[in-house]
């Protein structure tokens, strides 16, 4: 905002080899690992304390909608690819192509949420709310928190696609770094789903 110049905002630090922002996002992801790690451990603890899982009998894969979740997995993986393409477009200096791929990433994120909405509303329709039993408590809490992370990603990516683009004219390298950092976060959110899908739906 004024004359204070923060070193290594854009250029990598000679020793660590990365600029400040990228270092920061990796630290943030480390804390996110601890957040979801705690949730996964709690899931293991609660599940192993129950005689049956799900408590009402049957199999997770029968109670939850595996085809829809598979679709969602494909959607998220595709969105990770479009995210990389958006970053690569920046690297190659093409803002229109960045807009295209970033737009696709955001659209796919919305597809994921819409599919999730149908899954949720079907569960609520059956009376399977979080208070029904701990199977649904775990399911809704973990996928819900993941869903919030998707929403966060949409906000960040939406900013980069909209008002954030102004930075491109001033400092394309800085903008590219921001896209890369948003991408790292987005891949992490994707990765969490890759763990959630089998452990909630299939096992």
């Amino acid at each position: 905002m004024s004359e204070t110049v923060i070193p290594y905002m854009v250029k990598p630090h000679p020793v660590t080899g990365i600029p400040n922002g990228k270092f920061g996002i990796w630290l943030f992801l480390a804390s996110e690992v601890m957040l979801f790690g705690a949730l996964f451990s709690s899931y293991v603890l609660i599940r192993t304390g129950m005689p049956h899982w799900p408590p009402e009998g049957g199999l997770s894969s029968e109670v939850l909608n595996v085809p829809l979740a598979t679709l969602n997995t494909a959607v998220l993986i595709t969105s990770s690819i479009t995210m990389v393409l958006a970053w690569a477009s920046c690297k190659m200096g093409s803002l229109p192509r960045f807009r295209l791929w970033m737009g696709a990433t955001i659209a796919l994120a919305f597809v994921f949420l819409v599919v999730k909405y149908f899954e949720y509303s079907h569960k609520f329709h059956l009376g399977h709310t979080p208070s029904h039993d701990n199977f649904y408590a775990v399911y809704f809490t973990m996928t819900g928190l993941h869903g919030l992370h998707i929403v966060g990603g949409i906000i960040v990516n939406g900013y980069l696609l909209g008002p954030g683009t102004k930075l491109w004219a001033k400092d394309p390298e800085h903008f590219t770094n921001r896209v890369e950092n948003a991408g790292l976060y987005w891949h992490f959110v994707d990765l969490v789903w890759i763990f959630l899908f089998p452990s909630l739906y299939l096992l």
């Binding site: 905002m1 204070t4 920061g24 943030f28 601890m34 709690s42 408590p55 208070s131 701990n134 809490t141």
Partner: protein, 591 residues
């Protein structure tokens, strides 16, 4: 509060060669309220934390009345607090529980940590590493402005129906799951405070790793910066599990899930209508996975401050600087594997207990090494007993008492007897109150001239120190005896038990000690405000210190240093033989 910062910073403009000289001035609200300058944010954190420390202490001073004179109406303010909290001026048991829970929460999460990390960390670390600001100034601002709403929500919960959280600062379920609405507010406030410290810790690590001045290698960093770096890692990695646990407890309370509610729970003779199948121990594991590293978040910055003050006032290099750094790093690692020593009494099994008992004994080794290094640093020194030095010296025996009394709690056999008694209260308060808080006071007296350009009054400072030092020992020393007599820590009226009546006289003594301690703090409050206007003006380096923050003007302008600092030597080169000065600053090429 913003008014105070305004005053704190009006000392700013006069005379000193500030860097923003000639640049356009920022509007008031950008400079002092939504500021991105690490020094302003540090002062915001510090002042907020000092206010909450006093508030949290006031809650305890009220509880001490009930403990000393159970069932008697509280004089003066008893009738002001409403009929629900204080029917007829006598404290209701529910209100007593609220005060206890909020005292712990406020002191730890809104007092000590924000002062040690948010205040001193933000203000001092960029200066000590020769950086113009933190790596992410706007993130830094966001961290404070997430923290403050969290604090306000926490305090506002007193006005909810049913009052504030009353399940202790540990919020153990199943009781916390079925407590009144205040608990939900507590959880939401905690999520905000956790988010704030997360943003802060990312900022600290990146700043310390990426933005050190030229020549400032890791082995030339002041010990305070090492301590803050380890602290930041603890905050970064230990807080998220509590965030996860808070989310689950919110789900239990709001969405009716049963994460922490076992099957077959009966409340007031009625079976609780929940699905069940949960595990209350799960909360304890997640909570202590945060809260034990949290203990080190409280103590490590304090050790850092003590190191700075001791080196400066003994006019000697710190004894065993590298040993100190190795110890602080191993403390950081070990603090992640000792959490279940808070849970020996839960029946989690002897194998688990043995493991955590061993790690607990191991973690005491680096703590003892650090304390020994400090004591060795005193040996043979020509000590200047300034106010910061008095506080720093007092830290040593106080922390030693706190640490040593912890050993019987870390051993399963003796913990069976001492668990949840006043002995525990005495133990951890010796670590945090005359330990950490004294170190933080040392820091306030030591760095106040840097922040304001004026010295705190030494006479008032010494009165503050001696009164606090005497009073605080009257508060916490008798607790060991009460605990060994078996007095439980959460009793509303200790005289209902015969073994409590035996040590009730001590409760009266403790309470008068606590109120005396409260009075002693008034000397500090007066000094703090008086010196803003009347304190002696100082130049860059009033303490003849060696570290980089003393190269910047007092107070430093925007961007901190007038010329970019370069570091030539290790941090504590005091009394180097053959030199004319007894200190050789890091930032001067010639000693």
């Amino acid at each position: 509060m913003s008014v105070k910062q305004h005053t704190a910073a009006t000392g700013n403009g006069h005379g000193h060669g500030n860097r923003d000289h000639g640049h356009h001035e920022l509007p008031f609200w950008r400079k002092y309220i939504f500021s991105v300058d690490h020094k302003v944010i540090g002062i915001q954190y510090a002042v907020t934390a000092l206010v909450f420390l006093f508030f949290g202490f006031s809650l305890m001073m009220m509880m001490r009345w009930q403990l000393a004179y159970p069932g008697q109406p509280l004089p003066l303010i008893g009738n002001l607090l409403g009929e629900t909290a204080m029917p007829g001026g006598v404290m209701a048991p529910e209100f007593y529980n609220q005060l206890g829970a909020m005292h712990g929460t406020i002191m730890v999460f809104m007092g000590v940590v924000p002062l040690a990390v948010g205040g001193f960390g933000n203000f001092v670390v960029p200066l000590q590493i020769g950086a113009p600001d933190m790596a992410f100034p706007r993130l830094n601002m966001a961290s404070y402005w997430v923290f403050l709403p969290g604090c306000i929500a926490m305090v506002a919960s007193f006005f909810l129906p049913g009052g504030a959280a009353q399940s202790g600062w540990t919020s153990y379920p199943p009781l916390a799951d079925i407590a009144p609405t205040g608990q939900t507010m507590w959880l939401f406030a905690m999520v905000l405070i956790i988010t704030s410290s997360l943003l802060g810790s990312i900022n600290f690590i990146v700043t310390i790793v990426q933005m050190r001045a030229k020549g400032l290698s890791f082995w030339r960093l002041p010990f305070f910066v090492h301590a803050q770096l380890v602290t930041a890692f603890l905050l970064l990695l230990a807080f998220p599990p509590l965030e996860a646990a808070s989310v689950m407890q919110i789900m239990d309370r709001v969405a009716g899930t049963s994460f922490f509610l076992p099957t077959g729970l009966v409340v007031s003779g009625e079976p609780l209508k929940v699905a069940g199948g949960g595990n209350p121990l799960l909360w304890q594991h997640l909570f202590w996975f945060l809260a034990h590293p949290e203990v080190y978040v409280l103590i490590l910055p304090a050790m850092g401050i003590v190191a700075e003050v001791i080196a400066n006032n003994t006019r000697k290099p710190l004894w065993g600087y590298r040993l100190l750094v190795y110890s602080v790093v191993s403390l950081g690692f070990m603090s992640f594997v000792v959490w279940a020593h808070h849970m020996f009494m839960t029946g989690m099994g002897t194998t688990m207990s043995t493991f955590f008992q061993i790690t607990t004994m191991i973690i005491s080794i680096p703590s003892v090494v650090i304390l020994t290094c400090f004591i060795m640093s005193l040996y043979g020194g020509n000590i200047r007993f300034t106010t910061p030095m008095l506080f720093a010296t007092a830290f040593l025996p106080m922390f030693a008492i706190g640490g040593l009394t912890g050993l019987p709690l870390g051993l399963t056999a003796s913990d069976i007897y001492l668990h949840d008694t006043f002995y525990v209260i005495g133990h951890f308060h010796y670590v945090v109150a005359p330990g950490t808080l004294f170190a933080l006071f040392a820091g306030v007296y030591y760095w106040y001239p840097k922040a304001t350009g004026r010295q705190l009054n030494e006479k008032l400072g010494k009165v503050h120190f001696w009164l606090s030092f005497v009073a605080i020992n009257f508060v916490f020393m008798p607790m060991f005896f009460q605990g060994m007599a078996g007095l439980s820590r959460r009793l509303y009226d200790p005289t209902v038990y015969a073994h409590g009546r035996g040590v009730q006289a001590l409760n009266v003594l403790i309470s008068w000690g606590a109120w005396g301690l409260g009075l002693a703090q008034l000397f500090f409050v007066v000094n703090f405000f008086l010196s803003l206007k009347k304190g002696a003006r100082v130049a860059e380096n009033p303490w003849n210190a060696t570290t980089l923050e003393w190269a910047a003007p007092s107070p430093p302008g925007h961007g901190n240093f007038i010329t970019e600092p370069v570091v030539y030597r290790e941090p504590y080169e005091y009394s180097v033989p053959g030199k004319s000065n007894d200190y050789s600053p890091q930032f001067r090429a010639e000693g």
